[in-house]
């Protein structure tokens, strides 16, 4: 960092500053290159993430769009889409905005250029490793946390680099008080660190395989505490920080109410962290945890709307500019989308609404209003505002940016409206009974075929939205070409006086004290976010009666375990749930509702969050082996009109037994009651069970070798949900 000393300045007399000490004025340089680099990465990864999204969307209408390979099939690329959009597109968008605004709000260059570069390249490397592993089926299956343990460690390290750089910059600031945007950045850093570490607790089996440290209900609670707060602290709080900086910049007026922003910050971070269990309503999670999740979700509407109103009212008196300025157009739609999504979220968390909406496309619509509207549009507006300033030249074409705005807006509508339609339709069809008290639509497929046209429309919406992003890429490229990057931007600011000499370093109410102390502010934010997580999780972990055990529930056999890992590898849980909720419409369709005690050996839990296909928790023993064999080879042969892709590779690929003994040992460490020495017998045991399945298939004139993956998958599917069907006398006999 280059700092030149200029002549001393004496501040003019002011009624609020009784003593104005002498302050030197430093000249220094903002690092714009790192902002530009993160900006380019945002655009490139945005396009890749959305392209994968479009590919996945059309597969739901026509499964053959998967191009016939395992690597491009829905179950494997859906996590690639979500990871690319959340961590690559939005992640790089966060860093673009943070690296630009933090320097200016602190009046200091980033703490270290080397850390900035390490952060940039480290983050891109993590994304590349996600692109390389997820299509190969290397996944933990936990939503938005699918990456395997070596990448989890890399994420932790790179996140520490980001924090180091951010807090280093804050420590060197030339502005005593921290602007509210920086509080949001600090809360983001701390909470994402806590969430990532707690949810990624896993025991490695090999370089590419691990088992969750938590099982069943506890795993579900931790996962959705993480999943919900990934939305809160990766997609929301950093973007609110960006809103509080870039919106006043673009509107050329201060935020409507700085007082409201203070309330907004504390209430949002305190309340958000509790809301995770609303993802698990009517599941086997204890009732008290579900109720806590609902109560806090409803409360969440207040701070969310406080922030939204604060954003929109910032434009008071500037609406004429919205007509002219595409940046403001993007911001207005982004904040409106935020308002809609944060109104809808609390509504969806009400149990009566959730009963219809959960597991349907309604939830998909809800998240996409947030992702496409709030995150996407705020990012686009920010990039259009930044590029001319970084390259010291006007934007290449405002008209093109306005076209992008309309294409994007149409894209959101074409995406969201069909998905809402599909969600209502399917949610109601699942629950419809006829006059005789029987399910009106007993065949799940009927409810799917009804909404396939909506899947086409949704894909078209995605294409419209993506085409706008291509326009932006061209526009930004031409802007950059017309100008020159101002890599190091000269700036001046008076040096911060030592606290003892600075009249601004003392006085004011207690919160003002907090605003100039990043460490204490961080501790306060951490306490606020830890309270909710701790109160929900600790009792679920410590109090045994929260997960009543069922004596007949036994660990998976070696072959079933292999089959379960294939279910994870192929991403089956992206379309199939394993959670029969206690509704008559579900017990009629699937069988007995799911109990907490049935999942005690499930590492990870596989409850899923979306039913594109039917629930599978009670599928065990429902069909013969041959049905599953034929269904995996060609789903339409068993279910005409099915939109499930074929899995011919399962019939060709051999089961990988090389890691089976290690898997058994890891599960034993995690208290799964396999007999001592079972790790050495596991392969033989699996082969014995496989031979039985092959013999049964042979009776139905299906020839298959026992080492093929399909055999293990059939073993697992046939076991699903069958343990509680064992009669108590059988359990007693087995125990004796």
């Amino acid at each position: 960092m280059q700092v030149e000393s200029l002549p001393l300045l004496v501040a003019p007399k002011s009624p609020f500053v009784p003593k104005a000490p002498v302050r030197t004025v430093d000249t220094f340089f903002y690092d714009n290159k790192i902002v530009r680099d993160f900006g380019i990465a945002t655009v490139i990864w945005g396009i890749i993430g959305m392209l994968v999204g479009v590919l996945a969307a059309f597969q739901l209408a026509r499964p053959e769009v998967n191009m016939g390979t395992a690597y491009t099939t829905f179950g494997r690329i859906r996590p690639l889409h979500t990871n690319a959009v959340i961590f690559a597109f939005v992640g790089n968008g966060i860093f673009t905005g943070v690296y630009y605004s933090l320097q200016r709000l602190c009046k200091a260059r980033m703490f270290s250029d080397a850390l900035s570069k390490l952060h940039f390249w480290g983050w891109q490397l993590i994304i590349v490793s996600a692109v390389a592993t997820l299509p190969l089926g290397i996944t933990t299956s936990k939503e938005y946390a699918e990456l395997e343990w070596p990448i989890d460690i890399a994420i932790t390290l790179v996140w520490v680099v980001f924090g180091w750089n951010m807090f280093g910059t804050i420590a060197r600031r030339r502005e005593r008080h921290l602007y509210v945007g920086i509080w949001f950045y600090i809360a983001t850093f701390l909470t994402v660190a806590v969430l990532h570490i707690v949810n990624s607790m896993e025991v490695p089996v090999s370089l590419f395989k691990s088992y969750s440290a938590y099982a069943g209900v506890q795993d579900a609670l931790v996962q959705w505490w993480y999943g919900h707060n990934a939305v809160a602290f990766f997609l929301t709080t950093p973007y609110l920080g960006l809103m509080y900086y870039f919106l006043p910049k673009a509107a050329e007026r201060p935020v409507y109410s700085y007082r409201l922003s203070i309330i907004h910050f504390w209430s949002l971070i305190f309340i958000y962290i509790w809301a995770g269990p609303h993802h698990l309503l009517y599941t086997a999670l204890p009732d008290w945890a579900q109720s806590l999740g609902v109560a806090f979700s409803v409360m969440l509407i207040a701070p969310s709307w406080g922030g939204m109103i604060n954003g929109l009212l910032t434009l008071r008196g500037a609406w004429d500019k919205v007509r002219e300025e595409p940046v403001l157009k993007f911001f207005v739609v982004a904040i409106t989308a935020y308002g809609m999504a944060t109104f809808e979220g609390p509504m969806l968390s009400l149990k009566n609404v959730n009963a219809i909406a959960h597991f349907t496309d309604w939830i998909v619509a809800h998240v996409h209003v947030g992702a496409l509207g709030w995150n996407g549009f705020l990012t686009f507006g920010m990039l259009y505002w930044l590029w001319p300033r970084l390259y010291r030249t006007p934007l290449f074409s405002k008209k093109l940016a306005t076209t992008h705005f309309w294409l994007g807006t149409l894209g959101i509508l074409f995406y969201a409206i069909p998905m809402y339609w599909a969600g209502f339709t399917q949610g109601l069809m699942w629950k419809q009974f006829n006059a005789e008290g029987m399910l009106q639509y007993p065949n799940f497929l009927e409810t799917v075929m009804q909404i396939v046209p909506m899947y086409y429309l949704r894909g078209i919406g995605g294409v419209l939205y993506l085409s706008g992003v291509f326009l932006m890429m061209f526009n930004l490229y031409r802007t950059a070409k017309a100008g020159t990057l101002l890599a190091n931007e000269k700036a001046q600011a008076p040096a911060l006086l030592p606290a003892a000499e600075d009249p601004h370093a003392t006085g004011g109410h207690w919160h003002r004290w907090l605003e100039r102390r990043p460490l204490q502010l961080s501790i306060g934010a951490t306490v606020a976010i830890l309270i909710g997580g701790a109160i929900e999780m600790i009792p679920t972990f410590l109090v045994k009666s929260n997960v009543p055990t069922i004596p007949s529930v036994k660990p998976y056999t070696a072959l079933e375990l292999q089959g379960r890992d294939l279910y994870i590898k192929e991403g089956c849980s992206n379309c199939h749930t394993q959670m029969v909720r206690p509704f008559r419409s579900e017990t009629e369709r699937y069988g007995e509702y799911s109990k907490a005690g049935e999942f005690v050996y499930d590492r990870p839990f596989l409850w899923g969050s979306k039913r594109t296909g039917p629930d599978l928790h009670r599928v065990g023993q429902k069909y013969p082996h041959s049905w599953h064999y034929n269904h995996m080879l060609d789903p339409t042969s068993m279910s005409p009109g099915s939109i499930m892709p074929s899995y011919p590779w399962l019939l060709e690929q051999d089961i990988d037994y090389s890691t089976l003994p290690a898997k058994i040992r890891v599960l034993q460490q995690l208290n799964t009651p396999y007999p001592a020495g079972f790790d050495q017998q596991a392969v033989a045991d699996a082969r014995r069970q496989a031979a039985g399945i092959v013999a049964e298939l042979k009776k139905e004139e299906i020839e298959v070798l026992p080492d093929k993956e399909i055999v293990a998958l059939i073993a697992y599917l046939q076991r699903l949900g069958t343990d509680i069907k064992v009669k108590p006398e059988q359990v007693t006999a087995a125990a004796q």
Binding site: L9, P12, F16, L105, P254, I263, A491, H504, G508, H509
Partner: protein
Amino acid sequence: MDKNVLRSIAGIELYPLISLAIFFFFFLGLLLYVVLVNRQHIHAMSQLPLLPDPDETFPHPFNQDVLC
């Protein structure tokens, strides 16, 4: 909620009261703060993102003390 689970935790009746008290007094303090806070301070804070761009300020270096 399982009453037996709750009964097994010593001094359980204090926990919700402590939580409620923390929540209530923190936000009461926060509300009082935003009502009572110095107007000039709030004004100066909300102006932070709007300080002129550095290259514009270069010939006329600003002094933030004026703003506070």
